[in-house]
């Protein structure tokens, strides 16, 4: 019987080329050896301190995110197409941001409704009319992709603010290379460890015009209570930059300074991992103790660059998502390489009607939600859950969008009995500065529960190392 899902290792004609080396590897691996390796991997993760605190759940904040040792593999040909598509999308998203904070040509041209943009909470009035260095708003674009066939990829969502998870991409590779060095001798896996260097270069490239020296770049974290704190310190360390909290910075005159034991040091670029609302209590939430008072004035007068730009979130909203292919056509004059998942906007009466009639077949998400919360996977839900969700939908339709339940591809994953197919997605990280860069790889998330389509780590998902086989 044919599987209803595309299996990335075995398709109708048998073993697919990129996985050729891995078949013998896992078949020849004795169960005890595998258990040993799995324990070793966990030990390594724990030693590196990679843990993941889950939002809104109690329990152990030092929980490890489950790591599956079976790599996910792309051929260089597959990757080339993805890479072109991702870079294209990242360019279009930035063009859109430049436009909507400037003249709003795409809105004047009637290609996207004004209210969807300007009434969006993520649209920051405070930065309207401001052009950040090089016109770049979103410097790190995380694009979530799913695959449904050999040649069929869809974009599930865009992340233009501060996409997280890249530390897993780097650590997964590190751990795999330590545990299975021969795999990397036999397979020509393209390296991903240049990411930190590229990120640093990207951030430095968008230093303010006023900056006439080697730019001072810092990473701004909300602090050690944040679930991604580990990632923040990890990235700062790899880039060789200071990880600061809001209290470590202050504004005086036209610049922003870092408090050091040698006195104030001017800061040129802030890679911020805190939300817009908390950046500056004199501009946004007055009760924010995480930000830097006065920062937005310095930013807007070109004294410091904030990455990603405040207001970048208006491009990755789930309601705007529908229009990204339109952005590609409008700004770049190109045909979109990556497709969107067909999406129904429940704010529209016709769409809502369709969604309500087909609720059991669809995936319904909150427009502003993230992390796999507040969503309904129709085909996987019981009647009571669906009815409860239908009531919420009816009460506030514009808060929801719906998409067909996609037949997410599967990748072999270690289970008790050996390997079994499990659904996966992919988040590559595209860097936008003077150049647009993409390391060959990304974060593969895997739904570890049999049949589950939810890959979020907060919902029991795990991660895998993601390989792109280099060309001969």
């Amino acid at each position: 019987m044919a599987e209803p899902y595309f299996n990335e290792m075995y398709d109708a004609s048998g073993l697919r080329a990129p996985y050729r080396m891995l078949e013998g590897w896992h078949q020849n691996m004795p169960a005890e050896f595998r258990a040993l390796k799995q324990a070793e991997a966990e030990d390594l993760f724990r030693r590196y301190g990679i843990t993941f605190a889950v939002y809104g759940e109690g329990g152990d904040p030092d929980r490890l995110i489950p790591f599956d040792m079976f790599p996910r593999v792309f051929t260089s040909e597959e990757w080339r197409k993805l890479e072109r598509g991702i870079k294209q999308r990242a360019r279009a998203l930035n063009a859109f941001l430049s436009d909507v904070y400037d003249r709003g040509e795409i809105i004047r041209a009637g290609r996207i409704p004004a209210d969807l943009v300007y009434r969006n909470e993520a649209y920051e009035i405070a930065v309207a009319g401001f052009r950040p260095p090089l016109g770049v708003f979103s410097h790190i674009v995380g694009i979530d992709l799913v695959r449904t066939g050999a040649d069929q990829f869809y974009v599930l969502e865009d992340n233009c603010r501060t996409p997280s998870g890249v530390s897993y991409m780097l650590e997964n590779r590190e751990v795999m290379m330590r545990m299975f060095p021969h795999l990397f001798q036999e397979n020509r896996v393209a390296p991903v460890d240049g990411y930190a260097r590229l990120l640093k270069r990207t951030l430095a490239s968008v230093a303010p015009e006023k900056c006439d020296r080697d730019p001072k770049v810092v990473l701004l974290t909300p602090g050690h209570f944040n679930s991604a704190y580990y990632e923040h310190s990890f990235l700062a360390d790899l880039m060789g930059i200071e990880m600061v909290e809001g209290q470590d910075l202050f504004v005086e005159g036209d610049f922003c300074y870092m408090r050091t034991t040698e006195g104030p040091q001017k800061v040129d670029v802030i890679y911020r991992r805190i939300d817009d609302a908390f950046l500056d209590p004199l501009c946004f939430r007055p009760d924010s103790a995480l930000g830097v008072p006065g920062l937005m004035n310095v930013y807007r007068s070109g004294g410091v660059t904030i990455c990603s730009a405040p207001g970048a979130g208006v491009a990755d909203d789930k309601a705007i998502y529908t229009y990204v292919p339109e952005m590609v056509r409008f700004y770049l004059g190109e045909a979109p390489i990556l497709e969107n998942v067909p999406t129904w906007q429940c704010a529209k009466a016709d769409d809502l009607k369709y969604v309500q009639e087909h609720i059991a077949e669809l995936v319904i998400k909150e427009v502003h939600g993230s992390g796999g919360y507040g969503m309904l996977v129709g085909p996987k839900s019981d009647k009571a859950t669906i009815e409860a969700f239908a009531a919420k939908l009816a009460a506030n339709p514009s808060n929801y969008i719906a998409q067909p339940t996609l037949a997410l591809s599967t990748c072999p994953t270690f289970v008790n009995e050996g390997i079994a197919p499990r659904h996966v997605d992919l988040r590559p990280y595209c860097l936008v500065g003077r150049d647009i860069e993409l390391v060959p790889g990304g974060l593969t998330r895997v739904a570890l529960t049999e049949g589950s389509l939810v890959v979020n780590s907060s919902q029991g998902g795990g991660v895998k190392d993601t390989w792109v086989i280099a060309e001969e």
Binding site: A114, R119, F250, V251, D254, V298
Partner: protein, 276 residues
């Protein structure tokens, strides 16, 4: 008309504070209604940033004192030539799309009473133009909220002022913004000065009103507290979504202690300013 302004804001602290930082919106921008003849913002002992023109066309400036201090005084003085443009804001350079001003904040979130008032005011007015509707709303707000200093605070919301049926110019502006949004009109809060001596109106010289966006005309000011549109007696400083967002002084005290605020504002036609 030529108006002179002398505006002093003095914060005094019971114990020395670790530092003070403020974002000032205290410099009028040029438009057909106003032209700055001379203007200065002085804060002794503080470091002032270069004024920047934000997307809404307002001048914003950072001021900070890092050393331990027990007081800070902001002195604004200047002369502005004003023209009556019937409340219409023309020739003001700004980049924010009007439709961005359709969102509410906690201060402008309407309640049932406000939405009832809007329905009532616009009932049987389907043919009314946007401008006519804006006037109807402003009149309804003036009717519903009596000018009564001391009944509300700086944190009072539109809904609370509506329930109280009383407030000051800030509350009138918040309620009117809430109404305009319900009627689908972009609206924003404006802070400025008012030369109130002429008609003997009892309002403070530091004033606030609302601007509603009328297709074809642009932004038009409505001062529900005084039942009029801003004229040559008004000087416009800056705008925002609500009083906090548009505040002429938005500040933060590091290691704060009890603070005492003293404000004095004098606005007068030129020639009378010496008669303090």
């Amino acid at each position: 008309m030529i108006l002179t302004v002398l505006h002093k804001t003095r914060y005094e602290f019971a114990a020395p504070v670790g530092g003070i930082i403020q974002s000032l919106r205290l410099t009028p921008a040029k438009s057909e209604s106003q032209r700055v003849l001379d203007w200065s913002v002085e804060v002794p002992g503080a470091v002032l940033g270069t004024p920047l023109r934000d997307g809404a066309g307002d001048y914003v400036q950072t001021v900070s004192v890092r050393a331990p201090s027990t007081q800070i005084e902001v002195t604004v003085s200047g002369t502005v030539e004003t023209t009556d443009t019937a409340g219409i804001l023309r020739g003001h350079r700004e980049r924010v799309p009007p439709r961005a001003y359709l969102r509410n904040t906690v201060r402008t979130e309407p309640n049932r009473a406000i939405s009832d008032m809007v329905s009532e005011a616009l009932k049987a007015q389907e043919d009314a133009s946007e401008l006519e509707r804006a006037h109807l709303l402003a009149a309804a707000v003036a009717e519903a909220v009596a000018y009564q200093p001391g009944t509300t605070t700086a944190h009072t919301t539109a809904a609370e002022a509506m329930t109280a049926g009383a407030g000051v110019c800030q509350d009138h502006a918040h309620v009117l913004i809430a109404c305009a949004h319900l009627a689908g009109l972009p609206a924003r809060y404006v802070a400025g000065y008012l030369n109130a001596t002429e008609d003997g109106a009892p309002h403070e010289a530091s004033h606030a009103w609302a601007e509603l966006y009328i297709a074809g005309l642009g932004w038009v000011g409505f001062d529900a507290a005084n039942k009029c549109c801003p004229n040559e007696q008004y000087i416009r400083l800056g705008s925002g979504l609500d009083a906090q967002d548009a505040a002429p002084i938005r500040g933060l005290v590091l290691g704060g202690s009890e603070e005492e605020l003293a404000v004095s504002v004098l606005v007068a036609p030129q020639g009378q300013s010496q008669q303090q």
